[in-house]
């Protein structure tokens, strides 16, 4: 019974997320709670990235952290990067996912920089 209890703040929040291959995905910047489930509220997804993180700050810092990512979103969709809870395979010092990197929605800033900047340097 005891090992099925999980403390969201202490064991999930701000943990590193890694793919099944061990690649970094980001941190657990927040957790999405679904209030409409029949059995009671559940944590439905991990939220990661600057949009999710920015919401945890106040004032100018919040704007500063989120604005970069928001500007890179072509669609103007301001939802944070979402990883469904069913993708999680284990929770320890790191939160490990069941899938490899290619199966996940990409991180905006990383993709943009890879394409427009770092990716253009020889040897990248």
């Amino acid at each position: 019974m005891a090992d099925q209890i999980l403390y969201a703040g202490r064991q999930l929040l701000d943990r590193q997320i890694a793919t099944s291959e061990g690649r970094s995905v980001g941190k657990v910047d927040d957790l999405e709670i679904d209030l409409d489930q029949p059995g009671g509220p559940v944590v439905a997804a991990l939220l990661t990235g600057q949009i999710a993180l920015g919401a945890r700050f106040r004032g100018r810092l919040s704007v500063w952290v989120t604005s970069i990512a928001q500007r890179l979103r072509a669609s103007g969709d301001l939802e944070p990067r979402r990883l469904d809870i069913r993708l999680v395979s284990s929770v320890a010092a790191t939160v490990t996912l069941r899938v490899p990197h290619g199966d996940l929605p990409p991180a905006d800033l990383e993709a943009w920089l890879a394409e427009h900047f770092i990716g253009r340097i020889p040897g990248a």
Binding site: L13, D14, R15, Q16, I17, G22, R23, S24, V25, G26, K27, D29, T48, Q50, L53, R56, F57, L61, A93, T94, L109, E110, L113, A114, F117, I118, G119, I121, G123, A124
Partner: protein, 410 residues
């Protein structure tokens, strides 16, 4: 040979962290001005970094996570972000000084003004970080830096009164004509030069890069118990050489070239050449360490891919971008002809003041049985580690007032 190379990480960290331009000059300045009366500060700092690095290496081996990675989960996003900015700022200052240091080493060998070398040094540093495998970097610069052991040889050659020196070092007294606050200010400087956070960021990140696991805990200890004391031995001999030669001449050490005077006296041109190679390797190593640490702190706070875990640089684009921006900022700062010696003095004192922020969470995690299992701190290491927590908090409280009171060591 393989066993020997396993301690390369520790040696490089120590050489780059310990005998970078900061310690190099600070040890010489202090030796000339205060004799061996502040030798104890180096020893206290060395034990401190040994404890600190051992804990972070152990945490890295068992959790596969580096220092700044765990800082955020224990300190909370806001506090950790303040931590990030202060760590990054100090890193940048240090990087500036180290780049200038490498350029100065080349100037001493070529007589071409160091400012002209700064952009070239920046480019080469970046190329090394961009393409050179971590292990090659470790081994090459770590081992070359050992050339600085020439200071120990020079000390031997100078034939000092060993018992007198030992006596002076073990009964520290503030020399005539110097104020107590100034003496303590330099003590903090030496302590901070030994216990700089970027050494630990680098060491723990290196441990993660090398995929240390449970079986590497002994390697961790070897690295730490060999590497840092080696750095301390070099620092102490620089101080002693300086005390012996520069002190009586009342030389006010303000340039790197003066540090080499005792070597020239004792060992001639060959000694100076060895010193230059060692100094070049140490400052180059320090440039690599501080540059990478600047990237590590950002990447580990936000959870980005960093280092060689990305099979190609473009897979860690945010990390690489931070590196490039930091390098440009540091080069620009160095090219303003800012005095690198003064910059390191400030960065060394500031990092001493910022120590608790990163030391504290590591101490806590090293005690967390959920993470460390049976390898959590025992009562003996905890006693020493807690003692150091008290020391570094005391240092933090005292640094800024001292800095103002002594006008930064005048």
């Amino acid at each position: 040979m393989k066993k020997l190379l396993q301690i390369a990480l520790g040696v490089l960290t120590a050489i780059g962290g310990f005998v970078d331009i900061g310690d190099f000059v600070t040890s010489a300045v202090v030796g000339a001005r205060f004799g061996m009366s502040l030798a104890w500060a180096i020893l206290v700092g060395t034990l401190g970094i040994v404890v600190y690095a051992e804990m972070s290496g152990r945490v890295a081996a068992l959790t596969k996570r580096a220092v700044f990675d765990v800082v955020r989960e224990r300190l909370g996003v806001r506090f950790a972000m303040a931590n990030l900015f202060s760590a990054y700022f100090i890193n940048l200052l240090t990087l500036t000084a180290e780049l200038a240091g490498v350029a100065i080493a080349i100037e001493l060998a070529t007589s071409v003004n160091y400012l002209l070398w700064v952009p070239i040094v920046g480019l080469v540093v970046w190329l090394v970080v961009w393409k050179l495998p971590f292990e090659v970097m470790e081994n090459a610069f770590g081992m070359l830096g050992l050339c600085l052991l020439v200071f120990i040889i020079a000390l031997w050659q100078l034939g000092p009164d060993w018992s007198g020196m030992l006596d002076h070092a073990s009964h520290p007294t503030v020399p005539q004509g110097e104020g107590h606050p100034t003496w303590w200010y330099y003590a903090i400087g030496l302590f901070g030069a030994a216990m700089t956070p970027y050494e630990v960021f680098f060491f723990s990140s290196g441990a993660v890069e090398e995929r240390w696991g449970r079986q590497d805990l002994i390697t961790n200890r070897l690295n730490v118990f060999v590497g840092f004391p080696l750095g301390a031995a070099i620092s102490l001999s620089i101080m002693a050489c300086s005390a012996l030669v520069l002190g009586p001449l009342h030389v006010e050490v303000s340039h790197v070239s003066q540090v080499g005077l005792p070597i020239a006296l004792a060992l001639g041109k060959l000694g100076v050449a060895a010193m230059l190679v060692g100094f070049f390797a140490a400052t180059f190593g320090a440039s690599l360490e501080t540059l990478l640490s600047a990237g590590y702190t950002f990447a580990q706070y936000f959870g980005w891919t960093w280092g060689k875990a990305a099979s190609r640089p473009r897979e860690a684009s945010r990390f690489q971008t931070v590196l490039l921006i930091s390098l440009f900022a540091a080069m620009a700062l160095a090219l303003t002809t800012i005095d690198p010696v003064k910059v390191t003095e400030y960065s060394v004192v500031l990092s001493a003041a910022a120590l608790p922020l990163t030391y504290f969470p590591i101490l806590v995690i090293a005690n967390d049985r959920g993470y460390m299992g049976d390898k959590a701190n025992g009562w003996f290491s905890n006693t020493i580690a807690t003692g150091y927590l008290v020391i570094i908090v005391a240092v933090t409280l005292v640094t800024l007032p001292l800095m103002i009171a002594t006008k930064a060591g005048m």
